[in-house]
Point group: D2
Chain length 345, copies 4
Amino acid sequence: MYMFVNDYSEGMHQKILDAIVKTNLEQHTGYGMDEYCEKARLAIKKELKNENSAVHFLVGGTQANTTVICALLRPHQGVISAVSGHINVHESGAIEATGHKVLALPSDDGKITAKQVEDCVKGHFDDPTAEHMVQPKMVYISNPTEVGTIYSKKELEDIKKVCDEHNLILFCDGARLGCALMSKQNDVTLEDMAKLTDVFYIGGTKMGAMFGEAVVINTPKYNEDFRYLIKQKGGMLAKGRLLGVQFLTLFTDGLYYELARHANECAEKLQNAIKEMGYKFLAESPTNQVFPILPNEIVEKIGEKYGYSQWEKRDGEMVIRLCTSWATDMAKVDELIADLKALTK
Amino acid sequence: MYMFVNDYSEGMHQKILDAIVKTNLEQHTGYGMDEYCEKARLAIKKELKNENSAVHFLVGGTQANTTVICALLRPHQGVISAVSGHINVHESGAIEATGHKVLALPSDDGKITAKQVEDCVKGHFDDPTAEHMVQPKMVYISNPTEVGTIYSKKELEDIKKVCDEHNLILFCDGARLGCALMSKQNDVTLEDMAKLTDVFYIGGTKMGAMFGEAVVINTPKYNEDFRYLIKQKGGMLAKGRLLGVQFLTLFTDGLYYELARHANECAEKLQNAIKEMGYKFLAESPTNQVFPILPNEIVEKIGEKYGYSQWEKRDGEMVIRLCTSWATDMAKVDELIADLKALTK
Amino acid sequence: MYMFVNDYSEGMHQKILDAIVKTNLEQHTGYGMDEYCEKARLAIKKELKNENSAVHFLVGGTQANTTVICALLRPHQGVISAVSGHINVHESGAIEATGHKVLALPSDDGKITAKQVEDCVKGHFDDPTAEHMVQPKMVYISNPTEVGTIYSKKELEDIKKVCDEHNLILFCDGARLGCALMSKQNDVTLEDMAKLTDVFYIGGTKMGAMFGEAVVINTPKYNEDFRYLIKQKGGMLAKGRLLGVQFLTLFTDGLYYELARHANECAEKLQNAIKEMGYKFLAESPTNQVFPILPNEIVEKIGEKYGYSQWEKRDGEMVIRLCTSWATDMAKVDELIADLKALTK
Amino acid sequence: MYMFVNDYSEGMHQKILDAIVKTNLEQHTGYGMDEYCEKARLAIKKELKNENSAVHFLVGGTQANTTVICALLRPHQGVISAVSGHINVHESGAIEATGHKVLALPSDDGKITAKQVEDCVKGHFDDPTAEHMVQPKMVYISNPTEVGTIYSKKELEDIKKVCDEHNLILFCDGARLGCALMSKQNDVTLEDMAKLTDVFYIGGTKMGAMFGEAVVINTPKYNEDFRYLIKQKGGMLAKGRLLGVQFLTLFTDGLYYELARHANECAEKLQNAIKEMGYKFLAESPTNQVFPILPNEIVEKIGEKYGYSQWEKRDGEMVIRLCTSWATDMAKVDELIADLKALTK
């Protein structure tokens, strides 16, 4: 059984493991104030080229989303998101648990547009009963999105422009950011992210680290007292050095990008092959998640040898998610392709 | 200028005012423990014919919705509602502020169906990642709905059945309940409400009282410690006797029903007349709110003499809400009809 | 049985009732946007002599405290209060329910000092683990306090100075503010309140109104979007005109002050008489609440004719609260004094 | 510089590291549903000897405290704690952020007594205004406490008895539980913990693991939907296998106990030596934290070679915390003792 279920089936990349092993018995200050965290922050900030950016390391994505949103919104304010956004679907209500409504906008490809955001915020403030409704104040996007699509630089610039005009905070969930940055369709850099968002994060958990997300706050006022919030929301690791060591390794010699590129290559090969076989997709993805629509009997057959995620049941067929990662064995990709071909006849 | 803007433009019915005046200088225990509250509870319970029902008086509707929902749900649980439900649109995020997601279901007529509820709850528990999502636990309906439509007894029974099968709590917002009960299309009684819901409330604010909502809890376990929650959520009036006096008056000699009947009659006359003029409606309403779709120039004209609510802008025309109440002057209804006819040519 | 239990046993002052009756059938805009609210705001602002002050009318005190605190604090911030402060004891956890810790300071007389506040805030920021603790950000005081004592102008100035130096918000609960302002020991005016606090409120419920608290925000930035919060926390009355009519009456021809003076005079007579009988007090109160310490057998005896609040059980004796109000009959005060004297031998 | 600052200065015990290395590239199901988590659960449950107990692995202590408390309390309920309890002091308001008041009881030695708990709960329910106050519903204790003291079996039994009588939930924070269990003064076993508490946790972070806390729920009804809460509060690690591998190692061949014993032995040697030098302690601790009261000049001197925590400033002297752990080098303990002796004259 080989798993294409998700991008966190394995532990961590060997270089990270080596660094963990090597530094294990060193004594360090806790809570992210150690020298490895400091070095990792510098390594990341070097790429951001934004002197204002502050970098914080949190353990996981739910914490990152929750902490950022509750740190920056007042109680009557909500966060705009694609209906498929992770915060709207898969956080067990963590955002609402901090008191904030997710204002979900329709989306087919996991993305939202500047126009949608503008209509939403104008619609609110034009309404004579605005005070009786949740005030849109933050825009949450994921890059890549939950269905693998990515934002172009132009799209980000347009959203940023609307946010600036309407005093909205732009926050980008980058749980798989590396895969967006290394996508063949991509024209966005980390430097752009630091310019075009107020806050974003660089995912580690799904990109080769054991765990960890690097939250980058580009607008200084939003950094005020942020560490109190990290602590309160449970994201401040006692042995913070573990996060520092991991991110320092990921941002040494371009490891982060290299791992993302591998994940994308595996997915691309898989998607292209499935496409050639004549199957359709939920959305064509330029990153490490592939969403083919396959007949039920084929899904069942490949399920005997490979792990996959069931995405959506349809009549006689199913949308499944096949996920590759830094750890994916390309030989297994080839094997899956061959098996699919055989089943397709 | 005569207002059809809402059903809370005037103060209170004369009989209620008389009772307030008459009892003003009596000394009473606070917080709803006085004799008028006790009598009002008994008067209401007499109509409920459910020995298990407990009655609490709160000041307003936001409090009623918020207090009931946060009293009965655990932090990971959400409340199913029509997308147009008051808790999803017009409570400034009060529900989310207590930590709970509103799980909005599509609806054209303001109602949701037993089938929709069942699909929602089954969809949740069938999902292998259910634990990562908000668990549906309560069903919120409004009767009448925000667009004036009402539930039939059969519809309520069907929803109740699904709730019982899936261990869901059924909660009905009755801010205008009297208008539902007195609608010509209605086949539901207060007694039915006490059987078919776990919790509902009997609105006073929009039904002739100065203010006040009587929350009725029919399932005893949900009544546990409810008064702590009323206090915490700001709904426990120091001079609770004011609520007792009002509801006792409303439930003496059928005043509550009489006032609702008057509101409905005014609306019916208005809706029928507008229909005869050939206009369409957002939804045909058997209660005290009427939602005609009128050309912009006509809306503008009648706006010079009458207050109305702007509901939805469309191309060249507008959905407006005309609202009647216990206090509406039928002569003014006739006048508005005449003016509309003249404008319609 | 005559009640000295609290200051909300009766309905409302006759002038307020007259105004309610007179305006009852007028049609008005809802939610505090009507002309009576506007006039009441102007009448109050005239006394504040602070152009920056904004006035909002809420239904009750729990709402006022909760709404102000949650509107102004971020999630990691707490509110300093005397341990006996209403928000620390008698709001059923309403403050914590909005996410904020009450940082309780010891107090014998219901007051806290500038020195205590300074020590608390310095202690926090000097601690190397400050980020792991709740950040003090607001100071809550009650004037008069829960035991009837009042703040001098000098004391308020000192607290305000510490707040300004440490960027703290000063919030004063004025549920019985009139009684402080009309106390013989008082040297504070409404104008001072508007200068020396960021937010305070002018209580109506306990001062002769049917219900209602006028929240005054003197620091404009704290007024931003405040109405969203009033709505969310359930304090925005649909028929807001009821609040406008009441506060307009209270602030016409000095009625507010006159009612407070009467309450104080009744209490003073009572306290002096009891003192002459040789009894001690929890604290000597210059306002409308009196806290004598009486032998249990005397408490029991007077309990047969008069309502009182049990405050604190001690060995063989009890601290009770006797509360007077705008509605207290001075003849009943005399009667109580006579009865106590007789019981005292 | 050698650190006695805390018990999380180093990474993890070598056996745990070996297990992490060995299993690194295996593919596993996420979120704690993998085979290592299952084996670790079984290994722990074997020691609990309670068939009803359920075991969950969370990343850190703030999450464990927050998740348990908010999962089990209703909004009007609070948690009793010693004033020095971690939840009352060092969680940045995490408990209040989920809506619950911490009801702090005075304590000199970090412990609370059955009598204190009983007085608190009786005091609440005897008060006629109970509904206006936070209802005590849970008792939080730490074993060992924040100052290193431990509960005897008798003390736990007494508290449990009061909890059962008053329908309170007993929750024990076991961040350093191993050190309590292995203390020479201890007479409590894991089996006792599973009988005498509703919920407790077995700390990993401070006991030799990289991170992780094993929450044990002994009362089945409190386990309902607990995983939703873990996810919502950010404690559900994507690569949950990391927690399974660690706890399986800790509970193989008694490693958990062995590491705790070492930490205690280091501390005991240190405390005894300092005592012999004639110094006093904040509290005498039978576990891995030692709290000597030393003259400022000596504190300053040893601060040049050793890390310590500043606990409390006093006149001319300071309470410091010296913390030992599984990783403490006994030779360094000897060196510190020698240095202290030399400084002591």
